[in-house]
Amino acid sequence: MLIIDCPYCGKRPEIEFSYGGQAHLARPQQPAQLDDQAWAEFLYMRTNIKGVYAERWRHARGCGRFFNALRDTTTDHFLAFYKTGEPRPTLPAQHERTT
């Protein structure tokens, strides 16, 4: 069970959170303008990174807030937590490998 550092409440056990999938996917402003291919990309295509992954969590059994985290999928160690809407933080170079 991971420890997740909610930007609002602090460090809490994973059991209080729900996973929200890949972060930084914005719903298109005008979906009607997208062709089928582009819409399908938005709907279904997700990255599956070995390395640092930006993902969403929700403190569902806590403050209720969605937020983002950077997690190294090879170690399950978190490298950053940040609020929804904030840009993805830049990490020290050794962490920025994404394969």
Binding site: L2, I3, P13, R27, T84
Partner: protein, 1002 residues
């Protein structure tokens, strides 16, 4: 009772109380042990080595070890039919008066075992035997192979009754968790606690001290080892920030320093305290972990190395020094290092004849070998073992001499025990589970922790530090660092130690053998009966990865997970592949370190507490009326209210007629409710739901549909606007949490600019549905503040008022097709108001009805149930609900997906009615629908039945189904293939009852 063999118990010494005798039984025979014994030490004190039969060959097996690594002596301990615990290691079972233990994997008895024939036929049971043999014919599996294999392969037996014991769980948090209370762990706990940290110290055994408990002569800070342990533990006990856990196994190491501990509270008690849990699962979150898990003595691999009476040398020393038990009368010791020489001295001092110490090294020099020679024991360097003799107990050993690379026959010694020592293997299981990186040490011939993955450090023997002084210092340093991770250069605690220097020489792989070795097997994995030949066969057949060799030979896959065998196996595989050991790799260590009971894992999650049972405010009333309940999500809902001898069919038929002809009352409290409030509430609802909410007036409601972004129906429900900035949204019973989650997701992450908030009000309101032509008659005299006349208050009206003097939100709404109202009152008033409405309705024929009747009534009207008539692939159009979609809306969640060509295809499955040609036949829900009759599998199928009921009101059965191009097929005859032939059905409109909606608007 069998008299104990005289003289096996020493007259004094050890941590046992000879004045307290304990009787117990093993395989139906009574024995006597003493307080402080394990089952293994007590059996050995009675001269019993034979404790089991091996897994595959059913060879007689004896006690090999003294701790949790024991591969052979697996027993089933039982108190009664419900309390039967199989696969316990006799070395860990603490003796109590009346203990009943049985050996396993033998039939009919330990001494005479039919399965032994497997050993004689073993040429036919090589590695991979099961994969190769039991392939065909297929029918033979059920009839022949499986029953035979199951009986032959069984390990223990399961209890026949439900477990009556209680199991507890606890979350715990600490600064430093120390795993293992040997010298390193105790030293670590002392220094960590001295820094003021919250410390937990656990050990899998009944006594703290680890190897010190079996140490005859060491002095620490001037105290005898066992006295030092006592003093240290007392000091820890007096610290309120320290938690000490005996009989507690750290079985799993999970990410972020989450460690699972299994504490056995009373398995050692003759009479467990009544209210005490039997076991407790600790879920520990530690800021820092110190692993002080020690090391396991490595057995030697030679022909016939598995006979009862062949033990690890360290185990023999433990039995002697800790339990006061001589494991035999005449011993031969085979060793790769100095450690076993101390054992030789201890044994001789206790009166055991040590016939010889066979040393694998070319020379046996140094203080300990010299002391052994001085004691008159023959020391034979450059030795190897060529074979052993004995059936149920070893009776002789034949040594060989390694000379210039060749093997010369050596002496044969008669003996009743052979003690072997191949050095030590650090216990890196938990370290490896934590994803720490191991490194091969040529000096130690073992893997040791190299790079930690967590806030963790290993100390003592588990990282290859063996000498007692070093072990204590290592533990102290680890404890200091863990207790004050920020501090640097803290003074290191030193211990003054006087103890014989411990050697670290160890041996790996098979002992040197002549080119044509004796016919007997050399075992590598005792518990799974894996021999050197099996490993050789596996590599010969092309398996090169240790993970593949493991699966092919089942090496290390038994309940002991290869604690005593893995490294020897790797060495043998490496040699036969001619590569270095690190290249062979190490198999993955997995939790649990030792088996954990299901009871411990389940904890309180059983019986009534397995899942929350949610009940509504009218639950007690429904119970008193004899309702039959069904589970809907976590809720208990009244399904029907049988009267007299009614079955469900009869009760539902009566309830349906009552609603259609008079009036019914139904508890709809479980419907999810979400209050959507804020100046942007209407905009939020517009973006989310398919409907147009801008034009919904205050005091009006509408059937709402929520899609996922992929265009498929996610949930539905009536949505009321109770103020300009306030919507009361209802959801399905099971959908409430996920709808709120989806709403929050869009609100917070896509549209954070909207001023709108969501609050679950599901449980704020008790919802009493009053449905039927008489519904208004029942309510008009009760409702205060709302004119509910047909003219003033049309269908889908909503208003606040009062009923029975309490505040009410009243809906005119119907899920039955009849004139209907839903009374929402604060939940605490639910039962009281329900009773008042029921009383007032008596004169109008009011009848309580349950969910089954609700289902029939809504199906008669063609109303869908999410998750029954939809399955995550149904669009609003598929369900015939296009009318609900707001005209001229440019966007809502899922809209873009609805515009994809495939979502508009004419042959999509559409909701239709299905009417069986035989009116009494109720189709099976889930049954398939075919266009052509008389097909044989594989059939061409075009749809399926989603809902199906007998309709007492219509006088025939009805069904809803999803059928390809269904709406264009109305009037066609289709076929529902069933085992006894096709059922003819007519495709109809899904609305079977009152298609004009006259009644609902009445």
């Amino acid at each position: 009772m069998n008299a104990p063999i005289d003289g096996l118990r020493t007259p004094s010494g050890g941590l046992v109380d000879r004045t307290r005798r304990i009787s117990f039984s093993f395989d139906g025979r009574s024995y006597e042990g003493i307080e402080g014994d394990t089952l293994a030490s007590a059996l050995l004190a009675n001269g019993v080595h034979l404790t089991g039969r091996s897994f595959k060959y059913h060879r007689p097996r004896g006690i090999l070890a003294a701790g949790s690594e024991e591969p052979n002596a697996l027993v089933t301990v039982s108190r009664d039919a419900a309390r039967v615990t199989p696969n316990l290691r006799a070395t860990q079972v603490e003796l109590y008066a009346g203990l009943i233990a049985e050996s396993q994997n033998r039939w009919p008895s330990l001494e005479r075992d039919f399965g032994r024939i497997n050993d004689l036929l073993s040429a036919f049971f090589p590695a991979g035997f099961y994969y190769k043999t039991f392939m065909w014919p297929r029918k033979a599996w059920k009839a022949l192979y499986e029953p035979v294999i199951r009986r032959a392969a069984g390990l223990g037996r399961a209890p026949t009754h439900a477990d009556p014991d209680r199991y507890a769980q606890r979350y715990a948090h600490c600064d430093v968790l120390v795993v293992g209370a040997g010298p390193a762990g105790i030293a670590a706990a002392l220094t960590a606690a001295a820094s003021g940290a919250r410390v937990m110290l656990c050990d899998e055994t009944a006594q703290f001290g680890g190897s010190l408990l079996a140490d005859g002569g060491a002095l620490i800070d001037g105290l005898a080892a066992q006295a030092w342990v006592r003093q240290a533990i007392e000091s820890l006990q007096s610290n309120r920030r320290v938690t000490l856990l005996k009989r507690t196994t750290a079985f799993g190491y999970f990410p972020h320093n989450f460690v699972g501990l299994n504490e056995r509270l009373n398995d050692h008690c003759e009479k467990p305290p009544q209210h005490q849990p039997r076991e407790r699962l600790w879920q520990v979150r530690a800021k820092q972990v110190v692993l002080a898990t020690g090391a396991i003595e490595r057995p030697l691999v030679f022909p016939g190395n598995d006979r009862p009476g062949i033990l690890l040398a360290g185990a023999a020393q433990t039995y002697l020094n800790r339990y006061g038990v001589r494991v035999g009368t005449r011993a031969v010791i085979v060793t790769s290092g100095d450690d076993a020489y101390q054992t030789a001295l201890d044994l001789k001092a206790a009166g055991i004849v040590v016939a010889a110490v066979a040393d694998l090294r070319p020379e046996a020099i140094g203080a300990l070998p010299e002391a052994v020679r001085q004691a008159g024991i023959e020391v034979l360097p450059a030795s190897t073992v060529l074979g052993t003799e004995g059936d149920l107990r070893v009776k002789a050993i034949t040594l060989g001499r390694v000379e210039a690379g060749s093997i010369q026959p050596g002496q044969r010694f008669e003996c009743d025990v052979v003690l072997m020592s191949g050095g030590f293997t650090p216990s890196v299981h938990l370290f490896s589970q934590s994803r720490g990186k191991l490194q091969w040490s040529d000096a130690l011939k073992a893997f040791v922790p190299a790079v930690s993955a967590e806030q963790e450090r290993s100390a003592g023997a588990c990282r290859g530090v063996y000498d007692l002084g070093d072990v204590l210092a290592d533990g102290a340093a680890a404890g200091t660092a863990a207790g004050e991770p920020a501090a640097t250069g803290a003074a290191q605690r030193r211990f003054s130690v006087s103890a014989p220097k411990r050697g670290s020489e160890s041996y790996l792989g098979v002992l040197p053998q002549a080119t044509s070795p004796s016919g007997d097997k050399s075992f590598v994995d005792w518990q799974h009966d894996v021999t050197t030949r099996d490993l050789a066969l596996a590599t010969r057949e092309g398996f090169q990865s240790i993970e593949h060799v493991k699966r092919y030979t089942t090496m290390g896959m038994a309940t002991d997970q290869g604690k005593t065998s893995n490294l020897n196996a790797m060495a043998i595989v490496a040699k036969s592949l001619a590569v270095a050991i690190p290249q062979v790799g190490l198999t993955t260590f997995r939790m649990p370190y030792t088996p954990v009971t299901f009871g411990s894992m389940a904890g309180t999650s059983r019986g009534d507490l397995f899942d929350p049972v949610r009940t509504t405010p009218t639950h007690a009333w429904a119970q008193a009326r004899g309702a039959v309940f069904e589970n809907v999500a976590l809720w208990k809902r009244a399904r029907y209210f049988p009267r007299g001898n009614e079955d469900m069919h009869a009760a539902v038929a009566r309830e349906c007629r009552a609603v259609r002809n008079a009036c019914g009352i139904f508890d709809a409290s479980t419907l999810g409710k979400i209050e959507v409030v804020g100046p942007d509430a209407a905009e939020f609802m517009n973006r989310l739901y398919v409907n147009n909410w801008a034009n919904l007036g205050v005091g009006r409601s509408r059937y709402g549909i929520l899609l996922r972004e992929d265009g498929f129906i996610y949930d539905d429900g009536v949505v009321a606007r109770t103020a300009a900035d306030r919507f009361h949204v209802t959801t399905t019973t099971g959908g409430a949490p996920r709808v709120l989650g989806l709403m929050e997701d869009y609100r917070q992450t896509e549209w954070p600019d909207l001023k709108v908030w969501l609050t679950s009000t599901t449980e704020q309101w008790a919802v009493i549905a009053v449905q039927g032509p008489n519904a208004r008659l029942v309510l008009e005299s009760m409702v205060e503040g709302i004119d509910i006349s047909a003219a003033a208050w049309p269908h889908m009206s909503v208003a606040r008022g009062k009923i029975c003097g309490v505040p009410m939100l009243l809906f005119r709404v119907s899920f039955t097709g009849e004139l209907g109202f839903e009374i929402n009152v604060p939940s605490d008033y639910g039962q009281s108001v329900w009773e008042a409405v029921f009383a007032a309705g008596r004169q109008h024929g009011i009848t309580e009805y349950g969910t089954e009747t609700m289902h029939v009534l809504r199906a008669e009207k063609g109303y869908i149930i999410i998750g029954q008539d939809t399955d995550g692939t149904v669009t609003p159009d598929d369900a015939g609900l296009t009318w609900a979609i707001g005209k001229n809306k440019t966007d809502f969640v899922g809209k873009r997906s609805l515009d994809r060509a495939s979502m508009k295809a004419a042959d999509r499955k559409q909701l239709v009615g299905l009417r069986a040609k035989q009116p009494g036949v109720v189709l099976e829900e889930g049954a398939q629908v075919a266009e052509k009759p008389g097909q044989q599998p594989p059939m061409i199928l075009i749809g399926h039945v989603t809902s199906s009921y007998a309709s007492s009101v219509l006088g025939h059965s009805i069904a809803l189904g999803l059928v390809a191009g269904g709406r264009a097929r109305i009037g066609q005859t289709l076929y529902v293939p069933m085992p006894n032939g096709d059922l003819e059905v007519e495709v109809t409109s899904p609305v079977f009852y009152d298609p004009t909606g006259a009644r609902i608007n009445g």
